[in-house]
Chain length 426, copies 2
C-alpha cells in the first residue's frame, strides 16, 4: 500500500519537501512503505519551477487536491491564515490527516483545529510550525510526558537575536544591525512582525499550548518589541552581568498561564544568554526534570521541510497501522491568561538625572514609596546630567508602572531612557 | 482497561518511577487510561523503604513478575548487564513490552534486543538509557526522520565535564577536581568508567545506532580518557582558542561508521565548548537540517524516571491501540567501524624541547617528513627547556603516531607532554 500526499504550496518549504520525498528508499524504510506526492496545488501554474517538479502533478485547484480520493495526507505549506486555514479545516472535515508548518494558523486556531482533528479521527501534525528543524512539539508532548512541565522560556526569533547580537558584539546601532540582517536574509523588508515580537508570541503560544495542555492563542501573549533597546542599555546590562535577549516566557501557575514576549536581561551565565546570531533556543523546566535545552537554527526552508517530512512519516505510519487521530488526544485544561499588570519580576531602569546633590535621594524615595526595592545601581556622571541605572528586586509590574509615571513627572529627571524586564528566575 | 506495570528494581530511578506513576490523573490523561504498578521485584525484601511503597507489591522473584498474567509492561531499572539482560530478553520472549533505562545493556546488545522485540511484536523503549531527562532517542529516531543524519557529537559524561570545567575555570589539579566531583556526588568512588571514557562510549553507541540505523556496540567505540589532560594543556588550548572536552563523535561515512570518545580541543565559539560542569549536550547534524543541539543535566534519578515514564506512556498507548512493536522497526544497515588509525583530524601536540638554536628546525622536519602540516605554534621558553605547542592541519592518525614515536627518539626532545585530537569540523 502506497501512501499518497497532496501538497498545498510549492514555495521554499514546499520545494524542499518535494525533494526530500523523492528519496523514496529512505522514506519507505522509515514510513514502513512507499510515500509519494500525488498532486501539488500552486497559485500560478505558469510560474517557472525547478525542473525536478513533475508538471503533470500541478494544479491550481487546492480543493480538488484535498478531496481527491487518491490523496491520503494533506501537507499544507502555503502559510498565513487564509486560505490555508480553510484548506486545513476542509481537509480534516474530509477525514484527511494534515501536516502543516503554518505558525500563524496554529497560533491563531491550533487548539480548535486539534479538537476538530480529534473529532474527525485524523492526525494533525505541526512540528515545522516552530523552530524549523529543531524538534520541539513532539519531544515536549511525548518525550517529556512523564513530567509536569512548569515553564517554557525561549529565544524564538532569529531576526531580533541577530540584531541584538550585532549591537552587543560590534556596537552597531539598531538601524544598522537591522539593515545588515536584511542584507543577509535574516530579516524581511518589513520587519515589524519580528522586531515587535509578534512572531515570537505566535511560537510561544504554540509551545505553551503543547507543554501545558492548554489552548493559548498568539493574541493572548503579552508582546513588546526590541525597538527601544539602545547600545547604552546593552553596555549597562553587561556591566551588571546580563545579556539582553528578546525573551519568550510561559509559566504554568495552575489556574493561570503567564505568557509574555519582551526584551529581557538574562544572566550572562545562563544558557539562553549564549544563544547568538540567528539561532533559536527553547529552555523547558518541569517537576523533577531539570532544565532541558533545545537549540539550533530556527528558520529556513530545508530544515522546516525536514520537520514536515518527519511528520509525514509519522502520519503515514499511523495510517498503515489504522490508528490515525488517536496518537495523542488534545486534552485542553481550561485556564486563564495572567494579565501583564500582575507579573512580578525584577526590572532594569535607565534614567537621566540632573547631576546635583539630593537628586538621587528624591529618585530613590519614589521607588521606596511604591514598594519597589532596589538590588543594584550604576551611576555615571556625564557633565550636567548623570545616567542612573537601577535593577530592582522582584516588583509588581503595576508598581513599576507607577514608579515610571512618577519619575517622568520629577523635575530632576531629564528622561526615563528605558525600562526592561529582568529574567532572574531562570 | 487498566494497564499494569511490573517494575524490576526499586533503586533511585525505580523509586522515582513509582512516585511519578502515583500521579494517576496525569498519567491516565496522557496514557489514554489508567496505568498502575502491579508488582515490584527487589533483591532484598527486608531492606528499609520509602513508606509510600506498598509492601504487598514487593517480591524478590523477578521472573514471577515477568510472567505474571496480570502484568502488561515490564520496566527494567536494575541496571547492569546481568541479570537485567536476561530479564529483558525473557520479557520480550514472553511478548511483554519493555521499558528500560539500562545504558550498559543497550550499548552491549541494544541491536539484538530491538530485533528480538520486533520478532516478538512488542515495544522496547530506552529513552532513559542516555542523557537522563534530555529527550534524545525519540527525537533522533522520529522527529528527525525527515533528514539523513550524518554526525552526532556530544559531551556525554557529566563527571569528566565537571572535572575539566573545574580545572579550566579554577586551576584545580585533576586529582583535586576529581575529589570535589566525588564529594558533590558527580563521580563514583571508583571513577574509572567515567574518566576512561567508557560511559560516554556506551552512550555514543546507543545514539549513533539510533541516528544512523546501525547496530553499533559500545565496545566498538574507540575510547581514551581524560587522565593525561594537564592544567598546562588547558591553558595552551585556551590561548589557541579552544576548550578541552571529553568529546564523543560519531559520523556516518556510508560504508563505514566513525565512532570515538577522547579528549578534544573544541573551538571556544562552538556551542559544545559552552557546556559546563555536570551538563551534557548532543549536537546532531544532517543533510539540509542545520545543527540541532539538545542539552541538560545528563544524570539523576528523577529526570531518568521522567524519561522512563514518558516511555511507559508511549507503550501503554500502543497497547491500547493494539499496535505494540510496530511503531518503528529496527532496520539495521550493515556497516563497519572505521579503525582509529584511519581517522583524519588536526592534532594538538605539546612537547618539551631543549632551548637551543636549531632544535626547532629538527622538530619541524619530523612533521614535514611524515606529511603532517602545522597550522599554529606557541613556544614558551622556561630556562633550559622550552614548551612547544603545535596544532596541525588535518593529519592521518597513522602519520601522527609516527611523528610522536620519532619525536620521543630525538635527543633534543625532553618529553612529549601530551597529544590531543582537535575537533575543528564542528
Amino acid at each position: 500500500m502506497s501512501i499518497s500526499v497532496g501538497l498545498l504550496g510549492l514555495g521554499t518549504v514546499g520545494s524542499h519537501v518535494y525533494r526530500l520525498l523523492a528519496d523514496q528508499q529512505m522514506i519507505a524504510e522509515r514510513a514502513g512503505g512507499p510515500v509519494q506526492i500525488r498532486r501539488v496545488a500552486v497559485t500560478d501554474l505558469r510560474k517557472e519551477r525547478d525542473a525536478t517538479v513533475s508538471r503533470d502533478l500541478l494544479t491550481d485547484d487546492a480543493r480538488a487536491v484535498i478531496h481527491a480520493p487518491d490523496v491520503d495526507i494533506i501537507v499544507e505549506v502555503i502559510g498565513g491564515q487564509d486560505p490555508a486555514g480553510r484548506y486545513v479545516q476542509e481537509a480534516l472535515e474530509a477525514r484527511k490527516p494534515v501536516v502543516t508548518a503554518n505558525k500563524q494558523l496554529m497560533a491563531a486556531s491550533g487548539g480548535e483545529l486539534l479538537m476538530l482533528a480529534e473529532r474527525c479521527g485524523v492526525d494533525l501534525c505541526f512540528e515545522g510550525s516552530v523552530g524549523a528543524g529543531i524538534p520541539l512539539i513532539k519531544p515536549i508532548r511525548e518525550s517529556l510526558a512523564g513530567a509536569r512541565l512548569r515553564a517554557v522560556t525561549g529565544v524564538l526569533n532569529g531576526t531580533t537575536n541577530y540584531i541584538l547580537t550585532r549591537m552587543a558584539t560590534e556596537g552597531r546601532s539598531y538601524q544598522d544591525a537591522l539593515a545588515e540582517a536584511q542584507r543577509r536574509g535574516f530579516a524581511e523588508a518589513n520587519p515589524a512582525e519580528d522586531v515587535e515580537g509578534r512572531d515570537a508570541a505566535a511560537k510561544l503560544a504554540i509551545l505553551a499550548s503543547a507543554a501545558f495542555n492548554v489552548n493559548l492563542h498568539g493574541s493572548q501573549v503579552f508582546c513588546e518589541g526590541i525597538e527601544r533597546i539602545s547600545l547604552k542599555d546593552l553596555a549597562y546590562a553587561r556591566e551588571l552581568g546580563f545579556a539582553v535577549k528578546l525573551l519568550a516566557v510561559a509559566r504554568d501557575h495552575g489556574e493561570e498561564i503567564e505568557a509574555r514576549v519582551h526584551p529581557a536581561l538574562v544572566p550572562l551565565n545562563h544558557p539562553l544568554a549564549a544563544v547568538h546570531d540567528e539561532f533559536n533556543a527553547v529552555y523547558v523546566e518541569g517537576d523533577g526534570l531539570g532544565p532541558v535545552l533545545f537549540s539550533g537554527r530556527g528558520a529556513g526552508g530545508a530544515p522546516t521541510a525536514a520537520a514536515v517530512v518527519g511528520d509525514i512519516i509519522d502520519v503515514a505510519r499511523h495510517l498503515r497501522l489504522g490508528v490515525g487521530g488517536r496518537s495523542r488526544p488534545a486534552i485542553h485544561r481550561i485556564t486563564r491568561v495572567r494579565p501583564m499588570e500582575d507579573a512580578v519580576l525584577p526590572y532594569y531602569l535607565s534614567v537621566q538625572l540632573l547631576d546635583r546633590p539630593g537628586v538621587f535621594a528624591r529618585v530613590a524615595a519614589v521607588f521606596g514609596e511604591e514598594g519597589v526595592s532596589i538590588a543594584s545601581i550604576v551611576q555615571k556622571s556625564r557633565g550636567e546630567f548623570a545616567d542612573a541605572v537601577f535593577v530592582t528586586h522582584d516588583a509588581a509590574e503595576r508598581g513599576m508602572r507607577r514608579v515610571l509615571r512618577r519619575l517622568r513627572e520629577l523635575d530632576v529627571v531629564k528622561s526615563v531612557a528605558n525600562c526592561v524586564r529582568v529574567e532572574a528566575t531562570l
